[in-house]
Symmetry: C2
Amino acid sequence: MSLPRIAVDAMGGDEGVRVMIDGAAEARRRHDQFQFLLVGDEARIKTALDQHPNMRGASEILHCDDVVGGDEIPTQALRRAKTTSMGLAVNAVKQGDAGAAVSAGNTGALMAMSKLALRTMPGIDRPALAAVMPTLEDDDVIMLDLGANTEADARNLVQFAIMGAAYSRIILGRQPRVRLLNIGTEEIKGFDRLRDAASELQAAAPGLDFRFDGYVESDKINRGEVDVVVTDGFSGNIALKAIEGTARFVTDLLRNAFTSSLRSKIGFLVSRPATELLKHHLDPNNHNGAVFLGLNGVVVKSHGSANAAGVANAVTVAAKLLEDNLTHRITSDLAELQARRADESAGESAAAK
Amino acid sequence: MSLPRIAVDAMGGDEGVRVMIDGAAEARRRHDQFQFLLVGDEARIKTALDQHPNMRGASEILHCDDVVGGDEIPTQALRRAKTTSMGLAVNAVKQGDAGAAVSAGNTGALMAMSKLALRTMPGIDRPALAAVMPTLEDDDVIMLDLGANTEADARNLVQFAIMGAAYSRIILGRQPRVRLLNIGTEEIKGFDRLRDAASELQAAAPGLDFRFDGYVESDKINRGEVDVVVTDGFSGNIALKAIEGTARFVTDLLRNAFTSSLRSKIGFLVSRPATELLKHHLDPNNHNGAVFLGLNGVVVKSHGSANAAGVANAVTVAAKLLEDNLTHRITSDLAELQARRADESAGESAAAK
């Protein structure tokens, strides 16, 4: 079976058309069955494609003139869903013209357009934004929500856990370990909604395709002890940006330290393979591609400042989620959870008789 | 004028009595006017004091047998406020027997005991926990609340801003730049309570002793562009631990990279002065001492795993806040804020006539 093609919003991102096309071409060098629908200014896309003979016969161009601005308010961008490159890429997924969409444009606008065009999956109240981060071990960790929902109640958090676990299972190829982000691991910590979500997950997890391990504090996210970190969009965004900012802070300090004397400069040159290894491990391009989970279709947000390798990773994530049928996996765990709830209420009414 | 003495809970912390006494002695080597009330097991304190001739005549021992456990629930610990080393150290501040208390014990218990004994300052609804972190620049940044209040409304956040700014001004010796932690810098981001706090701070700041600069995202906390980061205890705890955890994560990766080959090991040895500089900058002992702000008295929490240098820093923070009259500074900005509010309502009723 051939993979459905991927719609690429060629106009989003800080670097413009070239980096998006270079990224798609790089993804196709890794997986030569990838097919693309490239959405945006036809002339610029053609110029960028000239560099990539491997894209011939593997891509169709959908021309449009309009582009969503980086600072545009989502509700405003939404009015131009039918004319912008972002809107048309998402719409291609809705029409079945593509299996997934990738954009490096305005996150809020992409979320709004995706929700409107693709609608939320049955059984999911709110979609969430999930991203992958490195850990001390070989496996990556997924965190969600990262800002799609400023607040989340217990029911939302349980659904985020199911969606994040489905995503993680596709990446890891094994049963993921799920935890709720909290400010302590004791049961009394945090909010009621966290305790309620924890007890529902505790009760339901044996029937689902993941393990629920309770709470995690934000200093343990990257230790390799958890595969999926579940939280509301405000806390998730705070944690994600604190992690990104501190990684940059420490590497900036390191750079300052290494250039502080001739001796340390020499040491830096000698140990360059080591520092390159660190740089590679922390390079955000290696973990590019935040996924909107919970929609009837796959939409991946590439980082605005990603390079071609980063865009290629975002495209590869989209293809992997399509291939492994992310939405089907979420549906199946949701059905399990609902069957469990139905059993419980049947049990309760039987007991009441 | 001589400085009031500092009560040290000698029994708290992972390392026990010796590190607390070594820390007090080190603080006194830096500032020979420091005087101490050492609370805990007399025999063990005396043994530890034997190593420190500079503490002779500078310390009194208050003996007790009881200790608050590290995992004890605050409400349970509270019942033994009159018999534990932590409770007695805090009580010494209440009685005027000491000017400030320092403990490395259970944070929740210390907060509960301090609130009960010292009470909240007039004009402050809730005390907050504040800590100092390094930045890329020379100046440190203060963040609060870090977990004393899981939630905070707009009024709480405004009070946290005033308390944090008073603390920062003492450390920096200049007018601090205050921001509210949010998930974006646009006005529409985040919660209503953040927008309300921002507009009150915007209106009041010209009359207060700090500058209000709007929102900050958590990836900018350590860039040196903000002196006081104000948030609720849940988000603050998430951000603080994400920062601590990531700093450890990156240095662990660096250590792994440096020991991955003979070449990188040699490079590491050559560049050791550089990596030592980094280690020094990130050493939590150099930023030890979280302060409970908003109480009628100074209480400093030393990190449970701090070494003697870390304890000395916590003691020095306590002394500095006493010397520069932290509570008076908070009172004065609160009075300014209240006068402003009174003016406004007078203006409004005059306009209504």
